[in-house]
């Protein structure tokens, strides 16, 4: 190894790494396709030349050690990074072939919903939490709102638990329920893609299992991208998995292949627990 450039020293195996091949769009329609994505926090680069295609109506998991850029990557997909000052993006991200940096951010975030690591219900009633997104998008009709709220809560598998207490504060719910409420809230605007940023990291195994079941129900109607620290979770729920390391996408493949027969040494090391 010796004295080498940044790109080489940051790779633990010592060899220069690059992402997946970044050819033209594949024939099968990808929901989201990313090409040559670089991301900077002021001068510090945190994502290097990311390229991948997220297939439609599948669950995609992103794994990797802390600080590897997977959450940052997720936040570029709905342009949430723009709320942080001094951030900069280079490269292409397309949603259904349309450049996300060219569309209105409100439109993008309606189509690409997000659920956060820590549940963040608003200081409002359960009903108003779910109705928030719909109201922001201009839905005023009370009957329609009620319908949207019920549908969303049903889709988030929370309806039976809260149907008699819709007027209660969202803070009266348990942690797992709050997270499902946040999922219902994201679902209320009927997004095409849902980004989940470690949604279960603060939940116990039972609440986690409920959310994982929920993902299987949802994937019939939308595309799901989940960032997780929990490799068993990725193995359980994801159709394909991407492994991030130090700002690079090391490997992206079908989940079985990733976990049983990874083609990169770094992936194997991480999955087998040799580091990370």
């Amino acid at each position: 190894m010796g004295a080498t450039s940044d790109a080489e020293t940051i790779c633990p195996t010592g060899k220069t790494i690059s992402s997946e091949p970044q050819g033209p769009l594949p024939a099968t329609a990808a929901k989201i396709s990313v090409r040559h994505l670089n991301f900077f926090y002021s001068r510090r680069q945190v994502l290097y030349d990311i390229g991948l295609d997220i297939p439609e109506k599948k669950i995609t998991a992103l794994i990797g050690p802390s600080g590897c850029g997977k959450s940052t990557f997720l936040r570029t997909l709905n342009r949430m990074f723009e709320t942080v000052p001094y951030t900069r993006v280079e490269g292409e991200v397309k949603l259904d072939g349309e450049d996300i940096f060219g569309m209105s951010v409100v439109d993008l975030r309606r189509r690409v919903g997000m659920v956060f690591q820590k549940s963040n219900p608003f200081p409002k009633s359960i009903f108003d939490n779910v109705a928030f997104g719909a109201r922001v998008n201009g839905l005023k009709n009370r009957d329609k709102l009620r319908e949207v709220v019920e549908t969303s809560l049903r889709r988030a598998a929370l309806w039976d638990e809260v149907k008699d207490s819709l007027r209660k504060s969202a803070y009266s719910l348990s942690g797992g329920q709050q997270q499902r409420l946040c999922i219902a809230r994201a679902l209320a605007v009927d997004p095409e893609v849902i980004l989940l940023d470690e949604p279960c990291s603060a939940l116990d195994p039972i609440a986690t299992a409920k959310i994982e079941d929920l993902l299987f129900d949802l994937v019939g109607s939308c595309t799901i991208i989940i960032v997780t620290h929990n490799m068993q979770q990725a193995a359980r729920v994801a159709d394909q998995t991407g492994f991030f390391l130090l700002g690079r996408l090391i490997e992206f493949d079908k989940t079985e292949v990733m976990f049983k027969n990874p083609s990169r040494k770094e992936t194997e090391d991480y999955i087998s627990g040799r580091f990370g």
Partner: protein, 320 residues
């Protein structure tokens, strides 16, 4: 004595002081309460009586002939000037807080906030003098006549524009005095709202305004109510500034928003000298009764605000 007992003692001393003060006032004012009866609160007539005549006995109390005390005009002046101040100060204070917390870059926020807070540190007599020297000439000669001309059709906005001393002037200066209180408190509450709430709203496609209006502000409602209670207390009890700009109306109710008024607190100061002339002491005891009423009104306003807060809580934000 262990720490727990010590703190318990301190806390009960603080709580006890309120009881002691109100009790003292009530005992001291008791002869006046007996003499004035209920028309103290319902009539507009503060009259020490004939200071040169011999005292007479009325309802078991020694008083001067023709002495009569009714302070409805004081109650009206106090409540109306406070009302004007709160109605103006809450939106201005919240607006300023939003600007400081949301629009300003953090570096400037500290500086501008410092100046806003310094406003609260200015002694009220300075506000009074400034009001007297600067605000009153401007209001009396320019703004009020202009308002009468253009907004005179609104009830209480028309009529005689007055000299600049009066209800609206008091309201405006009181507003300046209480805005910093509201701004500082609400700004702190906004800045400490969890970032996750903001992110959650933004991720749903909410604009900055929608995030602020329907997520962040509801979260600081409690704090705003609390700050408004404090501000109301300050406005109700403000003495020096009001004394210098209210016009010190005696024995009549304001007929429009420009009318001269008196408030209970400033009236006590302005009338104490002449009340001491009364050899029977009834005038001073009646001033004590004014103080008692002011105290009770402050406590009542506080109580009502707390009940409202409780009601709000039950409606919604009951935390875990």
């Amino acid at each position: 004595m262990n720490f727990r007992r010590l703190t318990a003692l301190l806390a009960s001393i603080l709580g006890g002081i309120l009881v002691v003060i109100v009790t003292f006032l009530a005992v001291y004012a008791w002869p006046a309460v007996r003499f004035n009866r209920l028309h103290f609160l319902t009539q507009n007539n503060w009259n020490l009586g004939n200071l040169y005549a011999d005292p007479i006995m009325v309802r078991g109390q020694q008083v001067l002939p023709a002495a009569h005390y009714g302070i409805l005009f004081l109650i009206a002046g106090t409540l109306l000037s406070t009302l004007v101040a709160i109605v103006l100060a809450v939106p201005i204070g919240v607006g300023a807080a939003v600007f400081l917390a949301e629009a300003l870059p953090p570096v400037m926020r500290a500086w501008v906030s410092l100046f806003v807070e310094l406003l609260a540190a200015i002694p009220s007599v300075v506000y009074g003098l400034w009001g007297y020297a600067v605000v009153i000439p401007f209001l009396g000669h320019h703004l009020f006549p202009w308002m009468v001309e253009h907004f005179g059709f609104i009830p209480f906005f028309g009529g005689h524009a007055g000299s600049g001393y009066g209800l609206l002037t008091c309201g405006l200066v009181l507003t300046l005095m209480i805005v910093p209180l509201i701004t500082a408190t609400v700004r702190d509450a906004l800045v400490t709202q969890p970032a996750a709430l903001r992110e959650g709203a933004v991720a749903l496609g909410a604009s900055r305004f929608e995030t602020l209006w329907s997520v962040l502000l509801p979260g600081v409602r409690r704090v705003l109510t609390g700050a408004s209670i404090l501000a109301t207390g300050r406005a109700l009890g403000e003495t020096m500034a009001v004394l210098m700009i209210s016009g010190n109306a005696l024995n009549y109710l304001p007929n429009n928003i420009y009318s001269p008024i008196s408030t209970m607190a400033s009236f006590i100061v302005s009338q104490l000298d002449s009340a001491l002339e009364d050899p029977t002491g009834m005038a001073v005891r009646s001033l004590a009764e004014v103080a008692l009423v002011l105290c009770l009104i402050s406590i009542a306003v506080n109580g009502i605000a707390r009940v409202l807060l409780l009601y709000q809580d039950r409606q919604l934000t009951r935390a875990v």
